[in-house]
Amino acid sequence: MPGAPSITPSAAGSQSIPRPHQRLGIETRKTLCASCDIACSVVTEVQKGRVTRVRSSDNPLFKDNICIKGIVAPKNFANPNRVLYPQKRVGERGSGLWQRVSWDEALADIGARLKKIIDEHGPEAWAVSTSQWNTGTDHGLGRRIMNHIGSPNWISGVALCAGNTAAVNRLTYGWYPWPDYDNTNCVVLFGHNPGKNSWVPVYNQIQRVKARGGKLIVLDPRKSECAEMADLWLPLKVGSDAAMMLGWLKIIFDEKLYDQNFVERWTIGFDELRARVDEFPLSRVADITGCSPELIAKAARMYATMGPSVIPWTPITDQQRNSTSGIRLQSILRAVCGYLDVPGGEALMGFHPKIISESEIEMHHVLSETQKSKQLGSDAHPVFTYRGQAALREPCKRVWGHEYANQVTGCFMANPSSTFRAMAGEGPYPVKALFSIGNNTLMGFANMPLILKALLNQDLIVVQEHVMTPTAQLADYVLPGDSWLERPWMFDGYGWLSIYKPSQKSMEPPGECTSTFEFWKRIAGALGRPELVPWPTLEALYDWRLAGLGIDFETFANVYDVHADKLEFRKYEKTGFATPSGKVELRSSILEDLGFDPLPYWREAPPADPDYPLTMFTGVREAEYFQTGGRHVPEMRARKPEPVLFVSPNTAKQQQIREGEWVCVETRTGKVDIQVGVRANMPDGLVRIPHGWWKPETEQGLGKLSGAMQYADAQLCPDDDDYLDIEQGVPHLKGLPCRIVRKAGDPA
């Protein structure tokens, strides 16, 4: 999942504070932490050629934006089991038998095998899976090469985490906005729970908002840490976000709490939306969500009247059966209440006018319409594919100056489940080569049994990683990636914000670890297309991107902490919105043209499954880890040694389980071993499962995969039609039927 930069628009254009060395012999570097996806501005201290400490930035704008994952980075990347040299599989796939080879040997063989696959099956037989953060962003180079070679099949974890949010937001008003925390009066968290070690800049901003008298509304089935500090906590039933927002709109429309001038001038489809909302009286919404009509109404009034309010991005609404409607309803609330592109609301930032964006580098225009039409999943679940976003090309050019805005890298993706089916031989055509870049593909998506089958059916798997992840253990080649301490980086706000932040290289990478820039440059060469990555170095690429500012990257990194264009509001008054109609589309013309309901709606869950009487909530990140990474860091494992589920005391009693006991959680898709944690803040009947567990210290290879087969939550998550959002095809991870089975002994 992608991320949030640690500044707001009001910090744009700021320049760095001179930083004298703190102690004799200790050099400092200005850096962006990539231990998760937030890109906090930090300072590294370097001794004897190593980073020995990571601390928060000296710039007051970024004060205390740091967490435990950041400060253990020097230990993380000094991992004695880190992959330092290219490894070639020499036994059966998953046998664990490897041979060290040179980069040149590896690339020559990879290039020859990939070309053979493309010759036999077409370029669409090559898929790439990456989340861009673990080994760093690839600057759009992966998509650039794929577009020239002819493959549309790029997938990512952002399909269910912010990338899809961006794509769905674009349907309504053409750009995914960013909250102006500095000036807002009210923050609404849909299940998200930023904390002292998770999304720290956002957590710090929320504390500031609260301190100056702003309001915090939290919607979460459990009384989370953020719910504890909220002015209003709505303990809604898991997965009922969309219904809740339909209820909010019912109050806002009935009581005329919306911005009538904005709605009249800048929206289309209000009457149809109003009619749809009228189908949701608060009694119905209360039945669906489990919250009282009075509480629902109070929250709606607070959002609409205490503003400007913001609804920051949340992974929770991203991962539900009604995700498209839920994300659309968040967009609609922003619009009808007049919170779009105003101080304290949510800013539509567009492209930086003088810095070349990653969307431009990706060159989506060179991929033919024929190849775009082959993008897997675009037939049944098109919203974040080329097909679903095609109608936004002209409006995006008209308003923002470019046809393709690949915000949060999530706007032109293949559907992951469809891609895995094709990889497993169950799709419209075969996919026979997978590149997995810092992604741990096996554990990063729903239906792990299908993904395992897909990986075992590949002719070529290439992984670039720091450690031997379960996915890497199944590869043909594992290539060593560098870390954020060991390379420069120019953060671009993930194409979400028009801000740029530099990160200086702090130390040399160990062994033969290289950047994703080097990886893709060598792949282009191996495919006989070196002209696709013409820049000799990463710094030269950055110099080219910054040429419009008249400075090179070294100067940029020395002078700026953050750079952006000037601050402007209500830009739509000059340009209109980047939608087909030029207005905010409450009734989506794009969804209608794709054959879907153009209005947000509520889709009921399938009937209860008597064999699986509990409800599971998964995809939950723990503060010590980011996604499936970090379990090898001793300090983090000491804090969080085992996967632990959360249940309420009543549920524990009913299930006859106790704190610390090992149990098996089962769904119709699979099962995992996990310890019990009894928590008073959990609602009855709900089981909270942490995401991404495996144990790097345990047995590698097919069968065990370092504990992935025993602990990974992806084994529990289905991706059949009942558990997929229709329009995007993203899995429903918030409210799955499950059961807890007691087991004897300790499997750890």
Binding site: G13, S16, V54, L61, K75, P343
Partner: protein, 68 residues
């Protein structure tokens, strides 16, 4: 809620202040930084491990990396 134009003006003043404060080179920059530090001053809720962190010894990291 304050009138829209006042909110825009305040946001732009904050923006300008942040730019000046961050540069922190001239006397006016430093004044702006002091103002910003006052505005942004806050005792955030930090993890004890973050509050007490002094980093690692380079030789300790070297030994760890070599598995010793």
């Amino acid at each position: 809620m304050k009138p829209y134009l006042i909110r825009v003006a305040l946001a732009k003043v904050g923006f300008a202040l942040a730019k000046k404060a961050s540069r922190n080179q001239t006397w006016f920059d430093r004044l702006a930084r002091k103002l910003l530090e006052c505005v942004l001053h806050f005792n955030f809720d930090l993890d004890e491990m973050v509050l007490t962190d002094q980093g690692y010894d380079p030789d300790e990291l070297e030994r760890y990396q070599r598995g010793r």
